[in-house]
Subunit: 481 residues, 2 copies
């Protein structure tokens, strides 16, 4: 039976009309009732352009309220938001727009001049339309599609991950069962909303009835101040943000009311986690991806004392298994109602990725005897050197422990003798560290075959819109060297 | 698509093995891991008797741990628990056992001699069996039946309400979204587990990962002490329990950590709610029934300040409407994934009760302008006197305000002139109150047609196992007078 629920924004606006839904850096607030009314008005304005149930509409925007309104509006029309990454090239965007059968692209002002083969309208333009008197969706069917978000696979073109309303719903519920739910919570959103990690905060806000503190662009000072003075209780971050926040925090402490620093976006270097522990930052390390509608495995700070470096256990409604012998490293497989049912118009990729509800993540990891997941690396990032498995993130973690090193990225280089060997890209804090120091440091801590065979000093590492290290770009840099 | 989740007890035992699942009055505790292991062992012992997937098994027991273990065990076998009310007559039990196709009845020691036409085994007897080495259910399908609980309808024989695993799941989630979820919560269970109000506490415990403080029989002193000294944060009660607890509390206060007195089981008299407010008892008035798998509409204490007497708003995943003109009193209709899909082997009753997912509750109520539900009365209890609607609970509430009156039950008596007239059954606190005093009191506060035409002083009112007033029994008493 396909379940229906009341439209979640309409429902929350009914349950808590005057409660703040979104709080902005300038102190402005929008209540759930206002957010609903603005979204309904925008929906009726969108309807004037001919957008209707089932249509796919691109959203190309930096983080702002109009973008959030647009996403809710499309759900009131029964249309689908195709979330477009603002850092993509025109060619990449063209591919996604075409592949997802997008009929209109909605943008914030700075992107309205982009020339797609389909209509492009800025949020502001739509707001000038008259409202078409149509009936909006009052209920949501959990099986209907809410968003399509593209993800780069291990091979080939990006694939459009379909998220149903149910995927987002179950993701929110799974997170609440793990983190608990306090109606006094306030969740800071600074991750891009075009990624599922940022988007999911706004969906949780509506389902839980808690405010989002919306930060348009990451700045450690802004986030720090929000935690200290704005009543923020939860922040979602990626490793580089945690790193910068930790540096900024120094010997100070966050208030006790700040209860969760939800860390996602890839394996975290152990020194970073250890430092956060010393600083009493309540880090919840997590594991997830676009296909799982955000976190699906999470470690609570209480477990972190014993299990530092683990991503924790699968959320209540989710299941996890490792493909391979018990205790060994193998591919991480996950299942649950927050996991996508597949890729848009790509049954082949869907069949490869999902079998009987189990998603093959492409990540490598193992479970310890207590069932805690340790993510080792992306399978595609695995370096095989002389028959030995070499995990780039392990080498990165070790080198990060060295004084004077700020960031490390490790990839494999082709080698005639060994097949592959590891090489490292390093961002220094200052120029007092030399290659030989690093190699001496590494030799004490790593097996010989794991020691980088080359070290490149760079000013910064290539990161994507979520600030995740893009190893593929390091490999490209390598090809040019 | 039918969703599956990991078996909820297995999952919680994995997430929080050492956390307390059940705490007893004598101080004993059972962890989630122990509860899982005991339930799995009991399941394998049950398997020796031939019970297997799909079987219907009666549970006839007062509140105790073995009963909880039995319910979980049956879910490990994929069998269904048919919850039997210990206060029923043998004839009533026979009807339910036969109607529900029960193949075995499991009992606590005091009921093992009951002679059904099918095997009866005490929990203790089963515990003496060897374990059959079978594979237990590791996942749960939300569409599978978990329990069948009989409810007396407005007409005819009791009907077996089917609760799927999904009904219980969504009920738990709806409650958490409303009450919030704190992993430090401890929920006191004193309502009979054979009713959905008691049972649901044990399911929430497993899904939330919080302990139940199990009280076998209501005693205001025991509950009071548990709130004061055992860290209990939530208690589910019916009106008579709240009344007794309030009397016992007197001028004292519960600790701030006690955050929710969840009140269900029928309309609450306003004086009781007002008194609770004065005593700072955090009453969450709620509305629900067996068919809704416990509460489906709930009022938070913050809203209670303005909306005293309302049952609140429908839980997040639920919908509510009143059958009739807007603002008028009409039949309460509810819809949502916690609402039963129907009655066991009774498609006719199901068709009458449920249309397009909307359950006709048989209760009368109205929504105020802000969407708060006020339950007026059971439709079948409505008294029509000279064409005027007379709501028994209104008269009861008014009379309860009078000093010296302890309990009131009002029903309609046939009357040749008016069709029906209200009559009252009253339990006095002492003998200082006379019939004339009551009539004088009533005449000042009630329209003439609402004033009881007869008053019967009784020692106690007939209540069911949930301590709810049974008006049908008052009507029987009336017939004999």
């Amino acid at each position: 039976m396909s379940e229906t629920i009341p439209h979640w924004l309409t429902k929350q606006a009914f349950l808590a009309p005057n409660k703040t839904a979104i709080e902005l850096e300038n102190g402005d607030t929008i209540s759930f009732l206002e957010l609903k009314e603005r979204s309904m008005r925008f929906a009726k304005q969108l309807a004037q352009t001919g957008i209707s149930k089932g249509d796919h509409v691109g959203i190309l925007s930096t983080n702002n309220v109009s973008m959030v309104v647009a996403i809710h509006s499309l759900s009131y029309l029964g249309a689908v938001s195709v979330m477009l990454n603002t850092r993509l090239t025109k060619q990449e965007l063209d591919y996604q727009v075409r592949d997802a059968d997008v009929t209109t692209v909605l943008t914030s002002e700075q992107f309205k001049e982009i020339n797609f083969s389909i209509p492009v309208k800025s949020f502001f333009e739509i707001e000038q339309y008259l409202e078409k008197p149509i009936k909006l969706q009052s209920v949501m069917n959990l099986e209907d599609t809410f968003t399509i978000i593209y993800t780069s696979g291990t091979t080939g073109f990006p694939k459009g991950v379909i998220h149903t309303i149910g995927n987002h719903w179950w993701s929110s519920i799974g997170s609440a069962l793990n983190l608990g739910l306090d109606h006094k919570d306030k969740w800071l959103a600074v991750l891009p909303i075009f990624h599922v990690g940022g988007l999911s905060i706004f969906i949780r806000s509506v389902i839980y009835g808690i405010p989002v503190y919306l930060v348009e662009k990451f700045d450690e000072k802004v986030v720090h101040e929000a935690i200290l003075t704005k009543g923020v209780t939860i922040v979602s971050v990626v490793t580089v943000m945690l790193h910068r926040l930790g540096e900024y925090l120094g010997d100070n402490r966050y208030p006790d009311s700040f209860r969760c620093m939800l860390l996602g976006g890839g394996p975290a270097p152990k020194p970073l986690l250890e430092k956060a522990k010393v600083q009493h930052i309540p880090v919840f390390q997590s594991y997830g991806m676009t296909e799982t509608s955000s976190q699906i495995v999470t470690l609570s700070p209480s477990d972190a004392l014993e299990k530092l470096g683990s991503s924790g256990k699968p959320l209540f409604p989710a299941q996890l298994k490792i493909d391979g012998p018990k205790g060994d490293i193998g591919e991480i497989m996950v299942k649950g109602a927050m996991v996508t049912s597949g890729y848009y118009k790509n049954p082949k990729a869907t069949d490869i990725a999902i079998t009987d509800g189990w998603l093959s993540t492409g990540d490598l990891g193992f479970e310890d005897k207590d069932g805690f997941l340790y993510v080792v690396d992306r399978r595609k990032d695995l370096i095989i050197s002389g028959g030995e498995n070499v995990y780039p993130s392990e080498i990165e973690s070790v080198l990060m422990e060295m004084e004077g090193i700020n960031e490390v990225g490790v990839v494999g280089r082709k080698d005639n003798l060994w097949g592959q060997v590891p090489v490292a890209f390093i961002v220094l804090k200052d120029r007092s560290v030399y290659q030989d120091d690093i190699l001496v440091f590494a030799e004490k801590r790593l097996a010989k075959y794991k020691i980088p065979k080359q070290i490149f000093f760079v000013d910064e590492l290539p990161r994507n819109a979520s600030n995740k290290l893009v190893r593929a770009k390091l490999e490209n840099m390598l090809d040019k060297k």
